[in-house]
């Protein structure tokens, strides 16, 4: 993909963000139109995921017939789901199903893992859950990274994963957990998983870099997995006493708002994260949760 093509895709992705408000397929969505976020709570990860998306207007509002959808969970580590180091497999599996129900042609699931990819995919349970739902799972391949221009303040260009930009729709599905540098890792941090090259260097100026990435990859939806959250020794975890059961899934289109909301789950202020403040200032989203219409449901 060359630069012109990339800019075109970025523009299309940007436009699709504005569209859903105009093209509401059914009545139920009309009510949802004004919602900024839905937060669902309940004991079944699959059920609350479905309920949250439905309350937000249903997947049909975001995914059209024939779409190729990329779902980007956090599969960074070789951990099993109970350690809350990777996105809940049931949440991912349910999203895959919802996309297909909305008519998606293909749903791709992948992540640029930190642990060995084979182990991370398998042990996280995501390979099995997403695979059973019909998703196309693939390991990230070096040859599919291309150096891309980034209209960022810190990052000017970086090798990014082409499949993300070739998709019609992108759904970001981070898990909420703590991190030594960025305090928490939530939605914007999850974009590190589409970066190639020597991405460890990002940590040197983590917040502006994350905002630059959020500028570059505009998700159709952000679905925050807070079924279990990791409150210490993140992002790898490994100790069950650091895991809190929250039974929560949140859905929004606003990356900044979602990360602001994620912070509150850890007892932090909504503007606790540097990337949230910078993203808000840059107009990427709205971190003021009090000024948003958030619907909380029980499922």
């Amino acid at each position: 993909m060359d630069r012109r093509e990339f800019l075109k895709t970025a523009a299309v992705a940007g436009a699709s963000l504005a569209l859903p408000g105009l093209l509401l397929p059914d009545g139920s969505a009309a009510a949802a139109e004004k919602l900024d976020m839905v937060v669902a709570k309940g004991p079944s990860p699959a059920r609350i995921t479905r309920a949250a998306v439905d309350a937000f207007g249903g997947m049909r509002r975001f995914v059209s017939r024939g779409d190729v959808v990329v779902i980007k969970p956090n599969i960074g580590w070789d951990r099993t789901p109970e350690y809350a180091a990777t996105t809940n497999p049931e949440v991912v599996g349910t999203l895959v199903r919802l996309c297909f129900e909305a008519g998606a042609k293909k749903v791709k699931v992948f992540d640029h893992t930190v642990s060995s990819p084979r182990r991370a995919y398998k042990q996280s349970g995501i390979a099995d859950a997403a695979g059973a739902a019909g998703a196309e799972l693939s390991f990230v391949e070096d040859r599919k990274f291309r150096e891309m221009k980034i209209q960022g303040e810190t990052l000017k260009s970086w090798p990014l994963y082409t499949e993300v930009f070739e998709a019609d729709k992108i759904i970001n599905v981070p898990i909420a957990k703590v991190h030594g540098t960025s305090i928490l890792t939530l939605g914007m941090k999850n974009w590190m998983g589409v970066m190639g090259g020597s991405r460890g260097r990002i940590h040197q100026r983590i917040d502006p870099c994350l905002v630059d990435m959020a500028r570059t990859v505009r998700p159709t939806l952000v679905v925050l997995d807070a079924v279990r959250i990791l409150v210490a020794n993140g992002p790898t975890g490994g100790d069950l006493s650091d895991v809190r059961l929250m039974n929560t899934v949140a859905v929004s289109q606003d990356q900044v708002a979602m990360d602001a909301f994620g912070s509150t789950l850890f007892g932090l202020r909504e503007d606790a994260l540097g990337c949230v403040r910078l993203g808000h200032q840059a107009g990427l989203g709205n971190m003021r949760l009090a000024r948003q219409k958030i619907r909380r449901i029980q499922a």
Partner: protein
């Protein structure tokens, strides 16, 4: 008839061998699901010398005993019908039209003398059999050299093709790669520090077929020698009827160089039961069967030669051990895989087959050159900059055929230290340069992080205060897995490095009081 059956058997076992070789790779679960070390387990030479050198029995080697026993009855069927290296020799030899026979008479004794040498050295605790053992040699050569070269060749060839400005080429190459990655290619390009050397050696061994058919098997293979000795009185045997007039039609086809044209000079211990003489005989005078007359030449090695070979084997023990690492000071780079026995015992068992290096999911296990003295040549060493030890992986212990690397449960493994990380504050970004980093802390996999962060205020070059987090390693929690060194963004020489000190398997190579 015999020949056809033999060819079928060879093809079958070669395919089985290659299949198991390809399965010696993590698929994400912590078990491989296939008995990938099957051929090594069935190897009587490895079993015998490992039992001698380690002074313990290895339960996995019952299979080897069965092969030895079968050889006593059936002769060297293993060489002719099973051994994948032998089959490769056949294939390589088939490419040669004309041979210049320059092998001195009596060369066939060499392999017996090598066997005596190896048995003597292993009786005195040295385990270098795997350097010469055909199965170990084959797996090592394939793992560390042929397979990596194959993968590199295929992927870069297709890559070059796909860049040609021909429509349809790129998607076709892509499609083919996709298929190859499913079963044949490895997810990550394998890379080993001595791949080139091992590749040259392997090609040299195959090239010997140019001088003589199955040169390696006839003159060098110590496993062949052992099986030859075992087969001397086997019941299954070749016999020649009166019709034979020593015309010599069977000579060129004879794989073992057994002197088949002469009923009394025929060397039974060299016969692989290949059946080529049966096929070639114009008089139909040759037959294979049980309880046939067993007239055959004695195996005469010469007493002096045997004594000399044994003496050399004994002398090799101190000679190979007088490297600096034999002095009791552990080499800091000698990071052994988790579950490895204490170094002395480890070396007495490790046969350098390369199974652990093939299976290591990160590619961090590399063949040693001098880190462990010459005795430890090609034994596995973790090189963190190349690949770290994956926290919950236990595969190397599962594939080790001799138990040099113990099989650990994931819970046991969590307590095993293979080394210790230390930070170099002169290179570490937050320590030396006031720049944010902490990648080492992020990736550290221990449940309570072994890298601690301390928030400090330092001054930038304008004298303005900046807050950074400086990492420090908790010496008790660190297990030496090396992912921190692997991922440290300070390139060249990383700012956090893992060395072997602190390894649980050693009583002495420790920093802290227990």
């Amino acid at each position: 008839m015999i020949r056809k059956a033999r060819l079928a058997s060879q093809a079958l076992f070669l395919l089985l061998f290659l299949w198991l070789f390809l399965q010696t790779e993590s698929k994400g679960a912590d078990q491989l699901g296939y008995p990938v070390k099957f051929f090594l387990d069935a190897d009587p030479l490895l079993a015998l010398t490992a039992i001698l050198s380690s002074r313990s029995f290895l339960p996995s080697m019952l299979l080897a005993g069965a092969v030895a026993l079968a050889t006593v009855f059936l002769g060297r069927f293993f060489c002719g019908w099973i051994c994948p290296l032998g089959t490769l020799h056949n294939l390589a030899g088939a490419a040669v039209r004309k041979r210049r026979r320059v092998v001195p008479k009596g060369s066939f004794r060499l392999k017996y003398l090598l066997l005596v040498f190896l048995l003597a050295s292993s009786a005195f605790t040295l385990q270098i059999t795997g350097i010469f053992d055909p199965l170990s040699l084959l797996i090592r050569s394939l793992s560390l050299s042929v397979y990596p070269a194959f993968q590199y060749g295929v992927t870069s060839f297709l890559d070059v093709l796909s860049r040609w400005p021909v429509p349809g080429l790129a998607p076709a190459a892509d499609w083919l790669l996709g298929i190859l990655y499913k079963g044949v290619l490895s997810l990550r390009q394998p890379a080993f520090s001595q791949g080139f050397l091992l590749g040259i050696l392997f090609m040299g061994i195959l090239a010997l077929n140019w001088i003589e058919r199955r040169y390696w098997c006839r003159y060098l293979c110590p496993l062949g020698a052992l099986l030859g000795i075992l087969s001397r009185r086997s019941l299954l045997s070749r016999s020649v009827s009166e019709g034979c007039d020593s015309c010599g039609a069977c000579v060129p086809g004879c794989e073992g160089g057994c002197f088949p044209q002469s009923p009394d000079k025929w060397r039974k211990a060299e016969c692989y039961l290949c059946g080529n003489c049966d096929d070639a005989c114009p008089k139909n005078a040759v037959s294979f069967g049980f309880g046939k007359k067993r007239g055959a030449a004695q195996l005469d090695l010469g007493r002096r030669r045997v004594v000399a070979a044994a003496a050399a084997g004994v002398a090799a023990v101190p000679l190979l051990r007088i490297g600096p690492s034999g002095t009791g000071q552990a080499d800091p780079r000698l990071i052994r895989p988790p579950g490895s026995l204490e170094e002395r015992e480890f070396l007495q068992r490790c046969v350098k087959c390369g199974e652990c290096m093939k299976v290591c999911i990160t590619g961090g296990l590399q063949p040693a050159l001098t880190e462990a003295s010459l005795e430890g040549l090609w034994s596995p060493v973790l090189v963190p900059r190349v690949g770290y030890c994956e926290y919950r992986c236990t595969l190397c212990g599962q594939v080790c055929p001799t138990g040099a690397i113990r099989r650990l449960s994931p819970e046991e493994k969590a307590d095993v230290k293979i080394g210790l990380a230390m930070i170099d504050p002169g290179r570490c970004l937050p320590w030396a340069h006031g720049i944010f980093c902490i990648v080492c802390e992020e990736v550290c996999p221990t449940p309570k992080k072994a890298v601690l962060l301390e928030e400090v205020v330092v001054k930038d070059r304008e004298g303005m205060p900046v807050t950074v987090k400086q990492p420090r390693v908790d010496l008790e929690r660190c297990i030496g897995c090396g992912i921190c060194e692997n991922r440290c963004p300070v390139l060249g020489k990383p700012a956090i490095r893992v060395l072997s000190v602190g390894e649980s398997r050693s009583r002495d190579n420790r920093l802290l009081l227990p």
